[in-house]
């Protein structure tokens, strides 16, 4: 199942064999997330776009799919934000400046930014769902006049789990971007909102009749968020989500990321809500 208007891309060099990339910068985002900036040692993969992912290879440990979290207009350098949860991601997060990792990609389709032009753009990120949305935000801010209201709704587990804290502060200071952050749990020294990310939707300022929403987060969060966006009045064909399943090959051969008739690495990860929602209700998938 290929989505109607998400932007597919052809496979290029570096789709089957990892190309060596050097870690040129690492940044600790919070207690368990790091951002790596990578530059090619020799040959480079094709440019990666908002919504796409690379397979990052920690040599001798393994390979994992990680979405791009960088500015799509910065040439050459790959930016990936990684949560240290398993052996591979822990090895990647432990990488130091000068280390070399393998990169295959880019894989998957892109966020349909063209669909959002002229409309209000609502970005809803939950947990580590914010990094795949950051390139969209960079793009929208770089082409601000192309969009109506720009709204970022971000929910985290606790204040210490929030990502890109300094950037969130900077974005909050902009007059042409509306940023709302909430956490699921906090002590009383937290001065922000407490509650799930869906609670931000009723009060957010956008015109539901003229809005497009991009949503990333755990599947259950995306389901609840989509319902809240529908309740607010956004049309189902204007809600897009980014799916995640266990991805291995990245090129639609191994079938690990199959969800019913679709292979997420090849046809996704970005799907239109009305095209994917029925599959999310099938427990066996």
């Amino acid at each position: 199942m290929a989505t109607a208007t998400a932007e597919p891309t052809a496979l290029g060099r570096g789709s089957m064999t990892p190309l060596p990339y050097r870690v040129v910068r690492t940044r600790r985002e919070n207690h368990d997330n790091w951002t790596l900036e990578l530059e090619p040692v020799g040959e480079a993969i094709e440019p990666i776009g908002p919504g796409q992912f690379d397979m990052l290879y920690a040599f001798g440990v393994g390979e994992v799919p990680i979405s791009t979290s960088g500015d799509p207009e910065l040439d050459g350098r790959l930016v990936h934000t990684i949560r240290a949860v398993g052996a591979v991601t822990k090895a990647l997060c432990a990488a130091k400046r000068g280390d070399v990792v393998g990169v295959r990609g880019p894989f998957g389709n892109r966020w349909p930014l063209a669909e959002a032009r002229g409309l209000d753009l609502v970005l809803v990120g939950g947990g580590v769902g914010l990094p795949p949305l950051r390139p969209v935000l960079y793009n929208a801010l770089a082409h601000r006049a192309d969009f109506g209201r720009l709204v970022l709704l971000y929910g985290g587990r606790t204040p210490r789990d929030l990502l890109f804290a300094r950037e969130l502060e900077r974005w909050r200071g902009r007059l042409d971007l509306s940023v709302h952050v909430t956490v699921d749990a906090a002590s009383s020294d937290w001065h922000g909102r407490v509650g799930v990310v869906t609670t931000l939707i009723p009060g957010a300022r956008f015109d539901p009749a003229e809005a497009v929403a991009f949503v990333v987060g755990p599947e259950i969060m995306m389901r609840f968020t989509a319902r809240a966006l529908l309740d607010r009045g956004i049309a189902p064909e204007r809600i897009w989500i980014s799916m995640e399943r266990t991805m291995r090959c990245g090129v639609g051969l191994c079938g690990h990321c199959q969800l019913g008739p679709t292979l997420i690495c090849r046809d996704g990860p970005v799907y239109r809500w009305d095209e994917i929602a029925h599959l999310l209700e099938v427990h066996e998938l």
């Binding site: 580590v128 985290g156 922000g192 909102r193 509650g195 990333v216 609840f224």
Partner: protein, 154 residues
């Protein structure tokens, strides 16, 4: 500056009520202001008021031994704080604290309960609207309990 009547009429929770009922509700309302850190109400106290937040953020706190005050939810502009006034024994279940300066409409719940006793239609309409608030909070709390960001890499 908008009048108390206008603030109540425009709020989502009272939107669409007949003018005579809005008038009855407004008769039990007043404007209030709280400074940062001020307590709006305390857990266990009689729930004889509720609030419609106009500006600012209210935290609902619970005291947890060895952890101190834990915020379970915040309520912002346009939202209602308090449903304990609807259900006996009419006591607050959490402590309400102004996270930042808060402007709100305060409703005298004793006054409103009295009017509800005399006006079944008003009572029905209020219960209908507050049920929606309660269901929304319940669904949000269920999602909160799932701790959806706990194990996922997203």
């Amino acid at each position: 500056m908008r009048t108390l009547d206008a603030l109540i009429t425009e709020s989502p929770v009272f939107e669409g009520l007949p003018p005579e009922q809005l008038e009855l509700i407004a008769g039990c309302a007043s404007n209030v202001v709280f400074g940062e850190g001020d307590r709006l109400f305390r857990e266990g106290d009689p729930a004889d008021v509720f609030f419609l937040v106009r500006h600012g953020l209210v935290a609902l706190d619970a005291y947890v031994p060895n952890r101190g005050q834990v915020t379970v939810e915040t309520v912002g502009a346009g939202e209602v704080v308090g449903w304990s006034w609807l259900v006996p024994p009419y006591r607050w279940h959490f402590t309400g604290r102004a996270v930042e300066p808060v402007r709100a409409v305060q409703f005298d719940a004793v006054c409103l309960r009295g009017k509800c006793d005399d006006d079944a239609e008003l009572c029905r309409n209020l219960l209908k609207r507050f049920s929606q608030v309660l269901v929304g909070r319940l669904q949000a709390t269920r999602l909160q309990l799932m701790d959806v960001y706990g194990d996922s890499n997203r």
